[in-house]
C-alpha cells in the first residue's frame, strides 16, 4: 500500500445526469457504478435475480432505481444521489428525471452540480428535451457539459451520424454559455466508452466518459472570487470570544485583513480564523469557519463579511430568473419570503418581464408563471439583500422563494442584475396590496435591557407579519433618538418624554390599522403603563435576559463604556430597569432560541388580530 502521506488526497466532483425517458440514463449510471467497482456482491446478486425476472442477463439500469412508487410506474421521478469513487476522485451523481413535468427536479439537481452529462439517444438525435436540458444546465451555471451519445450499437457505431449530431448540438446551443463541452459516443448497455475506450469505436479519439469526469477541472473558481462570508450564527465563548460562524461563499481571507460588514458598511479587521481547535492563517471557499474581529461590533445572522474593495450590491430591488416549482401559480404583489444566503426577508414580485420558451429559448410575454415555467421578474424586498449576479457568484446570486403560509419552496431564483438602489426610494414600502380599513392595528411594545435581544426579535417578527400581509411599522428606540428625540438626553424626565413621543406615534399608527412594533429599553414601569392605558390594542413583550448575560453579549460595547464611567445613567448599571409585572409575552433569550421567542410573539400578535 502506498503510504497515506504520498497520496494526493482525492477531491470531489458533483455532476448531474439528464436525458429523456429511455435514452439510457439509468443504464449508463448503472454502468459507471458497476464498472468502477462501486457495486457490492450482494447488491449484484439481488440485481441478477431481478434482471432475469425482466428477462435480461444483466441490466445495469436496475441498480439505480429507487423508490417503490416509481418502480411500480417504471419511471424516475425525483433526483436521486449516487456515490462512487476512483483513486483520483469521489463523485456525487445527481440523477435527475427527464420528463417535461420534472423540470423543477432537474433544476434541483443542477443547483449543486459542477458538471452535467446529457444523454442523447443517437437514433432520435436532438429532441426538445435535449434543448431543455442544455438550457437548464447553462442557466444554473454548470460550466462543463458532456454530451453522451448513447446506443451507438444500434447505428452500427457510425461516425457520420455521431458527427452530424454533434454539429446539430453545437448549432442550437450556440447561445448557451459553457466553459467546456465534450461529445462522447457510447453504448451504455455494453459499456463502450464508459469506463474504458471502446475498440468498437476506433474513430473516436477522445477519452471515455469516466476519464473525462476525472480530468474535468474543479479547482474551484469560487476561491478566485471576491471574499464573502454570510454569517450563519454567532458563537460566544469564555473571555469575550465572539465568533462569526459561516461558510466562506467565495474568495479567501487572512488574519489581519480588512473586511467590510454589511449592512452596517463598517470596516473591521480579522483577528482570528478558527475551525474547532485549529487556528488558521487563512480561510477560503468553501470552508466552514468561525471568525473573530478586532473591533467590537453588532453582527448577527444574515449579515455579511466582504472584501472592502469589491463588496456586493446591497439592494431591495433586482431582476431575477425564477424557476417556478409549485402547483400554486405565481402572483404579483403578493407577500412571499425570500431566503438568500443566510437572510430571510419579505418580498414581492413587482412584474413578470417575460417567460422563456425552454425549447426555442425565445422570450415570450407573460403575466404569471406556473409549475415548471421559467421567467424573468422584477423583485422587491423589505430590507436590503447583499447580492451579486448569479453568473459572477453562485452563492450570493441565488435564492429561493418560500410560501409564508404553506411553508413550501415555491421557486428557485437566479439574480440577473442587482440594480443599485435609488436612494430616494421609500425604505419601508413594499409593493403589496393595500389591506382594507377593517384591518386592526396593534402596538407591540418590546421592552428589555440593552443587549437582551429586542431588535433581533423585532426584526424577525416584522418579516413574519409582512409576509402574512399585515401593515407593519418598526419604531426602534435607537432610531427614534436619532430623529424624533434628537435633543433628548437620558435623565428620568427626558427618558419619559422620549417614551411618550414613541407612544404617541404608535397610537396614531395603531388607530390606522398598522401593527406598530416598538423596540425600546423603556425602563420605567409607570410611563409604560401610562401608554398602555392610552392605546387600544396593546401587547407588552418582555425580552428578559439577566444583566450579566446582556453585559457579556454587549453587542454595541455600551456596557463596557458605562462600566468605565464614560457615560452615566446607563440602564442596568447605574440606572434602574423596572421589569413588567405581567407582560403579555415573556422571551427568555438566555435559554430560548431566537426562533422560539419569535414564534411566541408572532402567535400572540396573530391571536389578538384574528
Amino acid at each position: 500500500m502506498i503510504p497515506e502521506a504520498c497520496q494526493k488526497p482525492r477531491d470531489l466532483l458533483r455532476f448531474l445526469t439528464a436525458g429523456s425517458v429511455d435514452d439510457g440514463k439509468s443504464t449508463l449510471i448503472g454502468r459507471l457504478l458497476h464498472d468502477s467497482g462501486g457495486i457490492y456482491e450482494d447488491e449484484l446478486a439481488a440485481l441478477s435475480r431481478k434482471s432475469s425476472a425482466h428477462g435480461r442477463s444483466f441490466d445495469p439500469s436496475l441498480l439505480t432505481d429507487g423508490l417503490k412508487a416509481e418502480r411500480e410506474q417504471g419511471i424516475t421521478i425525483d433526483v436521486a444521489y449516487r456515490y462512487f469513487s476512483t483513486a483520483r476522485r469521489e463523485f456525487i451523481i445527481a440523477d435527475s428525471p427527464g420528463h417535461d413535468q420534472y423540470t423543477r427536479n432537474m433544476v434541483t439537481g443542477a443547483s449543486t452540480a459542477q458538471a452535467a452529462v446529457l444523454l442523447i439517444d443517437v437514433r432520435h438525435g436532438i429532441l426538445p428535451q435535449t434543448r431543455r436540458h442544455a438550457y437548464i444546465a447553462s442557466l444554473l451555471g454548470i460550466q462543463v457539459v458532456i454530451v453522451a451519445v448513447n446506443k451507438m450499437d444500434l447505428v452500427g457505431f457510425d461516425a457520420d451520424i455521431f458527427h452530424r449530431l454533434r454539429k446539430d448540438y453545437l448549432e442550437f446551443s450556440a447561445s448557451l454559455r459553457v466553459r467546456e463541452l465534450h461529445f462522447i459516443p457510447v453504448c451504455a448497455l455494453e459499456g463502450d466508452n464508459v469506463t474504458a475506450k471502446s475498440p468498437r469505436i476506433p474513430w473516436y479519439e477522445g477519452m471515455p466518459l469516466l476519464q473525462v469526469l476525472e480530468m474535468v477541472e474543479v479547482a474551484d473558481d469560487r476561491i478566485s472570487k471576491h471574499f464573502r462570508l454570510p454569517v450563519q450564527t454567532v458563537i460566544r465563548g469564555e473571555s469575550g470570544f465572539r465568533g462569526y460562524a459561516g461558510q466562506v461563499a467565495s474568495g479567501r481571507i487572512g488574519t489581519g485583513d480588512e473586511v467590510v460588514v454589511l449592512p452596517s458598511r463598517l470596516p473591521a479587521r480579522i483577528s482570528q480564523i478558527t475551525n474547532y481547535r485549529l487556528q488558521m492563517e487563512e480561510a477560503h471557499a468553501p470552508m466552514s469557519v468561525a471568525i473573530t474581529l478586532r473591533e467590537q461590533m453588532d453582527i448577527g445572522r444574515g449579515d455579511m463579511l466582504c472584501d472592502p474593495e469589491h463588496s456586493p450590491v446591497s439592494t431591495r430591488q433586482f431582476r431575477a430568473k425564477l424557476i417556478w416549482m409549485s402547483e400554486l401559480p405565481m402572483r404579483s404583489n403578493q407577500p412571499y419570503l425570500i431566503r438568500h444566503t443566510t437572510q430571510t426577508a419579505c418580498m414581492s414580485i413587482l412584474k413578470v418581464l417575460h417567460k422563456v420558451d425552454i425549447h426555442t429559448f425565445a422570450e415570450v410575454e407573460a403575466g404569471s408563471l406556473v409549475l415548471n415555467e421559467i421567467g424573468e421578474v422584477e423583485i422587491q424586498t423589505h430590507k436590503p439583500i447583499f447580492c451579486d449576479s448569479y453568473s459572477s457568484n453562485r452563492t450570493t446570486g441565488s435564492f429561493i422563494v418560500v410560501d409564508p403560509i404553506h411553508n413550501t419552496t415555491l421557486a428557485a431564483g437566479i439574480i440577473m442584475e442587482p440594480s443599485v438602489e435609488d436612494p430616494n426610494s421609500d425604505p419601508s414600502s413594499l409593493a403589496l396590496p393595500n389591506r382594507g380599513p377593517e384591518d386592526r392595528g396593534l402596538t407591540v411594545w418590546i421592552t428589555g435591557l440593552s443587549g437582551a435581544g429586542k431588535t433581533t426579535i423585532c426584526e424577525a417578527v416584522h418579516t413574519e407579519l409582512l409576509a402574512r400581509g399585515h401593515r407593519v411599522e418598526m419604531l426602534d428606540g435607537d432610531v427614534i433618538r436619532k430623529h424624533l428625540s434628537r435633543e433628548l438626553g437620558f435623565s428620568k424626565v427626558e427618558r419619559d418624554e422620549n417614551i411618550r413621543r414613541i407612544g404617541f406615534v404608535a397610537n396614531l399608527l395603531t388607530r390606522n390599522g398598522v401593527v406598530a412594533l416598538v423596540s425600546a429599553i423603556s425602563p420605567y414601569r409607570a410611563v409604560r403603563d401610562e401608554i398602555r392605558q392610552e392605546i387600544s390594542g396593546f401587547l407588552e413583550v418582555f425580552v428578559n435576559a439577566p444583566l450579566n448575560v446582556c453585559e457579556r453579549r454587549d453587542p454595541k460595547g455600551l456596557y463596557k463604556r458605562a462600566r468605565s464611567g464614560e457615560f452615566r445613567g446607563f440602564t442596568g448599571i447605574d440606572d434602574p430597569y423596572e421589569p413588567p409585572l405581567s407582560p403579555d409575552v415573556e422571551c427568555k433569550t438566555d435559554s430560548e432560541t431566537v426562533k422560539e421567542s419569535v414564534d411566541k410573539v408572532v402567535a400572540a400578535i396573530l391571536k389578538v388580530l384574528s
Binding site: 500500500m1 488526497p9 477531491d11 457490492y40 456482491e41 450482494d42 447488491e43 432505481d65 429507487g66 423508490l67 417503490k68 412508487a69 418502480r71 421521478i77 425525483d78 433526483v79 436521486a80 444521489y81 449516487r82 456515490y83 469513487s85 476522485r89 469521489e90 427536479n105 433544476v107 434541483t108 443547483s111 450563519q232 450564527t233 458563537i235 460566544r236 460562524a245 459561516g246 461558510q247 478558527t274 475551525n275 474547532y276 485549529l278 487556528q279 488558521m280 492563517e281 470552508m287 466552514s288 468561525a290 445572522r301 416549482m325 438568500h340 443566510t342 453562485r394 441565488s398 429561493i400 418560500v402 411553508n407 413550501t408 419552496t409 430560548e592 432560541t593 426562533k595 422560539e596 414564534d599
Partner: protein, 302 residues
C-alpha cells in the same frame, strides 16, 4: 498555526456538514441529535462539536434504546456523554417491552415498528423536538438516495417521498408549522469509506465492537450473531470462537457480525477498499421484503 494543505474531499464534506448543523441551530426551536452510538453518530457528534466550538453543542442528544443493544454500546454512550458533558435523553418503549416485544415473537418488521419507530415518534412529541438530526447517509440504502438533507415530516412523523420540498443550492428551507418536524441528515453525502477515513484523521473514539477480535458467535446460516440476549437460536446452538467484527451496529439479534482480521481503523479502511459486500447486508431488517426500508421510513423510521 496550521500550514495550508490541500483541501480534500473530506474537508469539503466536513465543511458542508458543519454548515448544515449551524443552519439547524439557527432555524429551529428545539433540535435534538439522534444519537445511535454507531460510527456515523460518532462522526456527527464530532462535527457538532466543531460547528459550535468553543460553545457547547446547542442540541440535546436523544437515544432510542430498544434494550436489545450491545452492552459495550451503552457503556460507550455513557462514557462519551459524561466526558463531553452532553445532555442525553434516553427513551424506551416500556409498554411494548412489558408486553414482551422481541423480534422472535413479532418478526423484525413489527419489532422495529414498536421499539424504534414508535419510540422515536413518542420521544419527539414528548420533548417537542422540531428538528431531529440523524447520521443516515444516502449511499447506505436505495430508498435513502432521494432523501433530502432537510426532510420534512408531517404531524404524524410520516415521510412522503413523492412530495418532497425541492432543495436548491445550500438554501435549506426549515420552515414548518407547530407539530410538524424535519429530519436533518448532515452526513447525506458521505460514504462509508469517508466516515472511516474521517474517524482516522480526527482520531474519533468508536465502540470497540467495530474492531476484529476473537468473540463467541452463533452461526445461523450465513449470519454470525453475538449472543448477548436470550434468544431461541441460542438454545440449540453452541457458540463458536471466531475472529469477527461488527460493520454496523444495531440490536444484538438483528445485527450480524462479519469475519474479519481488521483490528484497527487502518485495517478497516483497507478492508473496505477491497470489500465486495454492502454495509447493511448483515442487517436483517432491510431484507424483510423488497422496499422494506422505504415502507419503514414512510411511517417515521429514521
Amino acid at each position: 498555526m496550521m500550514s495550508p494543505r490541500h483541501f480534500s474531499e473530506l474537508d469539503e464534506l466536513e465543511s458542508e456538514s458543519i454548515y448544515i448543523l449551524r443552519e439547524v441551530a439557527a432555524q429551529f426551536s428545539r433540535p435534538a441529535l439522534l444519537y445511535s452510538i454507531g460510527k456515523d453518530s460518532s462522526v456527527l457528534l464530532r462535527l457538532a462539536q466543531k460547528a459550535f466550538y468553543p460553545a457547547k453543542i446547542p442540541f440535546r442528544l436523544l437515544h432510542i434504546d430498544t434494550t436489545y443493544k450491545f452492552r459495550e454500546m451503552i457503556e460507550f454512550r455513557d462514557r462519551v456523554c459524561r466526558e463531553l458533558g452532553l445532555d442525553l435523553i434516553v427513551h424506551t418503549n416500556r409498554e411494548a417491552l412489558a408486553e414482551g416485544a422481541n423480534p422472535f415473537r413479532l418478526g423484525t418488521t413489527k419489532c422495529c415498528a414498536l421499539l424504534k419507530t414508535k419510540a422515536l415518534l413518542d420521544a419527539l412529541r414528548e420533548h417537542e423536538i422540531d428538528a431531529a438530526i440523524g447520521g443516515a447517509r444516502r449511499d447506505e440504502e436505495k430508498s435513502r438516495a432521494k432523501e433530502r438533507v432537510f426532510s420534512f415530516r408531517d404531524g404524524f412523523g410520516q415521510w412522503d417521498p413523492k412530495n418532497q420540498r425541492p432543495e436548491l443550492w445550500n438554501l435549506y428551507n426549515g420552515r414548518i408549522d407547530k407539530g410538524e418536524s424535519v429530519r436533518v441528515f448532515p452526513l447525506s453525502n458521505w460514504t462509508e469509506l469517508d466516515v472511516w477515513e474521517y474517524i482516522r484523521r480526527e482520531e474519533i473514539p468508536v465502540v470497540p465492537l467495530y474492531f476484529a477480535a476473537e468473540r463467541r458467535v452463533l452461526v445461523s446460516g450465513e449470519k454470525l450473531i453475538i449472543p448477548e440476549h436470550e434468544s431461541p437460536i441460542q438454545k440449540d446452538d453452541v457458540p463458536a470462537l471466531m475472529k469477527i467484527r461488527m460493520r454496523s451496529l444495531g440490536c444484538t439479534y438483528c445485527s450480524g457480525a462479519i469475519r474479519s482480521a481488521a483490528d484497527s481503523i487502518s485495517g478497516i479502511i483497507e478492508e473496505l477498499k477491497v470489500a465486495r459486500r454492502s454495509e447493511r447486508e448483515n442487517r436483517l431488517i432491510d431484507h424483510d421484503e423488497d422496499g422494506s426500508m422505504e415502507l419503514k421510513k414512510r411511517e417515521g423510521y429514521f
